[in-house]
Amino acid sequence: MSRARHTPSKPPRSSKPQRKPKPARKVKPQQAALPPAQDEGLLEVDDIQGNILGAFNKDHQLLVALAIHDVAAAKAWLSRVAPFISSVAEVAQFNRLFRARRRRLGHDPLGLIATWANIAFSHDGLAKLTSQADADGVPDDAFHQGLPDRAAILGDTAIGEGQPVSGHWVVGGAGRVPDILLIVASDDPAQLDRAVTQLCPGAGDLAGAPEVIWRECGQTRSDMPGHEHFGFKDGVSQPGVRGLVSRAPDIYLTERFQVDAPAGDIAFARPGMPLIWPGEFVFGYPSNDRNNGNPVPAQALAPTWIRNGSLLVFRRLRQDVAAFNAFLRAAAASLAATPDFPGLSALRLGAMLVGRWPSGAPIARAPAQDNADLAKDPLSVNDFLFANDTPAPVFRPGAGPAKDFPRATADPLGFVCPCPAHIRKVNPRDQDSDKGDAFDTLTRRILRRGIPFGPPLPAPPGGQLPADDGVERGLHFLCYQTSIIEQFELLQSDWANSTNNPKPSGHDLVIGQTADGKRDVQLFTAAGGTQSLQTDRTFVTMTGGGYFFAPSISALQKVLAAP
């Protein structure tokens, strides 16, 4: 702008006081009239498998890995199984009913149970059932290569001298990749058993039907439902998938609590749940423009039956709970002995490294101590940004948080929530990453469908550290996306495993992996300095898994199961 054209200047504003935490205040949630609904397009919810966009959310979930030995017998078995495969329509409808009943009752509705099944295929499995060319048509190079070949990218390491990276895996190692992964989930373990018996190849199937080569049941923790084995609430933050499930007005797949955002802003279904175009998770739909969030038309698919399918990542992650707790206890004691972190507890250090307290309450909104009320409020627990002050959401009529909690203030450098904190590493929200800004980050999101396996590690009385009991426990990590390379692999390899990305200051100490196991984080001191925290102890170990394609139900029936 030239000097000649400038507008008269205003007098400089006097210095304003430094920002202080904003106290909780009783305000009515902002509400606004509904703008015209954007046509997000109809999702073919009867054709998309239910766990992808619906989420099973069951307390018991069995994973069954199968090998195809005889294609004709496998197709016959698939024909028998196909009617049991649950759709998004079924799962989403049940989940809506369940939520509605729970809202009315104040607790989980007794007797309202369901049992679901979904299925997915490895690249080799697809090739056996269709053709090599068709399997290669699924547009993801990582899927083609398979997890054993991609494991080193993810930082997975071998156990034992001269062993391959996947040599110790209990499922999915090189040469042992399952062709099929069957997921069966239920609210009731007895129902689950019945369904598995019904679904798995048996006496009624042709000779040469797929062979069960591995199976393992996951279950929510009975002592802490919804928490993973380190003790933290899991699956709190999920993206909101755009799209209508019906032509009836406003029947979105993802229930809307907030009004649509102004053009150019990220829209949210509810606070902290950004709306993302379905093509990021299911093939055949518009995806997000990583520069501005606008819909990008779906690319042509060949073969066309890829439509309504999704890529599934499965990783069996063993968790060393005793080591994690021992590390937190020792590191907190060490830091607490310095003038910079007086009184630091293992609990708070854990929250700093995760970004949430065990309850799920984010430290961005609860910096000093856990806040169970905040954790329980679904419209508040995810309502925070990192780089900027979090504005008050504008809710639709009738919606709003149960209670007003202190809002998160701008923390671009990570004084409150350290930049390497797990939830900030894998979802930097409004903070820029090495890959771009918040719009780019939307294209990295995944739909997580994990569940713990193994029993909780019993806690000894008196606050003593639990010793490892030698029992395996961990997480069946499952996630859906349409680009394993640009989504799951980027989160693990480029961000969690990196000290530089998405923002420098260390690794994700919880899930980050390096070749020599050494990881570190930089924690800010109150005085503005940093304190380094290091470990070479691995808390999470990859022990099996695979990359799969979850086809549409019609493709399963008409292509994969077709003689």
């Binding site: 702008m1 400038h6 520069n291 690319q299 820029d432 090495d434 640009e486 990196s498 923002k503 420098p504």
Partner: protein, 384 residues
Amino acid sequence: MAHYNAFNPPGNNADFAGDPGLAQAWTTNMSNIFDTATASVTAYLAHHGGGTCQFYNPVSGGGASPDLPASATDIPWNGFPKRHGAPGPGQPPQYAAAEAPITAGQNRDQDEYLEWFVNRQNGKIVSVHFTCEAYDYFQFLAQAAPQKVLALYQTYISPQVQMADLFPNGPTGDYDILNKWNTELGAMHLSNPANNLFAEVFLAASATVRRSQHGAEITQTIPLILCSKYGASTRNSDPAIGAAVNGLCRDGRQVTIADPVGLYMAGFNGAGLTLNGQPADGFFKIVRGAFPLALRAVYALPPGLAAQGLTVSDVKIGGTPIQFGGQLAERITMHIAGLASVTKDIHNAPVTVCGAVPQVDPPAQAPTSLVAGPARSVRRAGRA
């Protein structure tokens, strides 16, 4: 606030060793750039009533008060051009477009302050050469010590490079940035017009200006760069640098760029690179500078493996063969090291108009100015 006695050469390289005059000239040169940027922002703020300039020259200014830890003000971005990134799910990055062959007089279409040259023989990749050295540093050297420029080319590109290749009009003439050894035959330094140190400093300075629109301060990355026009919104680097600097200034801090000023490779993610099943990440070698101030790197097989007929094309990344240098470039994290005061003393009112900060001369020019301002002799081609 940092205070330096001098600006060191990018990456603390040894180009000025034994030549205090050259070192002093570089300090003067960089100081002029900082002074120009500071004066420009100061004038812009005065023009728009925006307050005190939060950018400063750490040689002529600065002080002993402490700065934030380096990790807090380190700004990373990916080295592969965003414009050539994966267009959408299931679509690979446009590797071929990002490294389309060029000839002398043309610049590379690589605008993330990282450029690379792919050395192919018989269709196989023999080596990939990465550089992040700004061309205005070479302009400076060319003007002050042309023999050093020749020596660098002969060391890093080819012993066959001749003075006349670099200085078509003789050693006293202009240095040809887009000479054949820096384009079709190699990559000595950055060639893209956007990739220069002046632009880096001016971008950082311009980004200190707080902006508002429609009564609200602009804090989002892309709206900020679109309003402030300090760079290209389609890149990884410019928006990230600008947003980070602006955020520090919104917090009231004074900022500058850490010495040695440059754009650097901070790290290389070699996980998953294999050759015949064995790790192949070690073939990435820094040959000028060192992480996190790496200026130049080469990916090539050791002579023993090359003698067996193996090439970079035999290396796989997660099972996928390397076909383009860009597959390695996207595994490089670039960064600049900023500095920001711990104190938060300046709280300017946001400027309510949009537009770039016009460049103005500093009030008192230093006596010697070899190069200050945008490159003067870039022969641009292939890109507006």
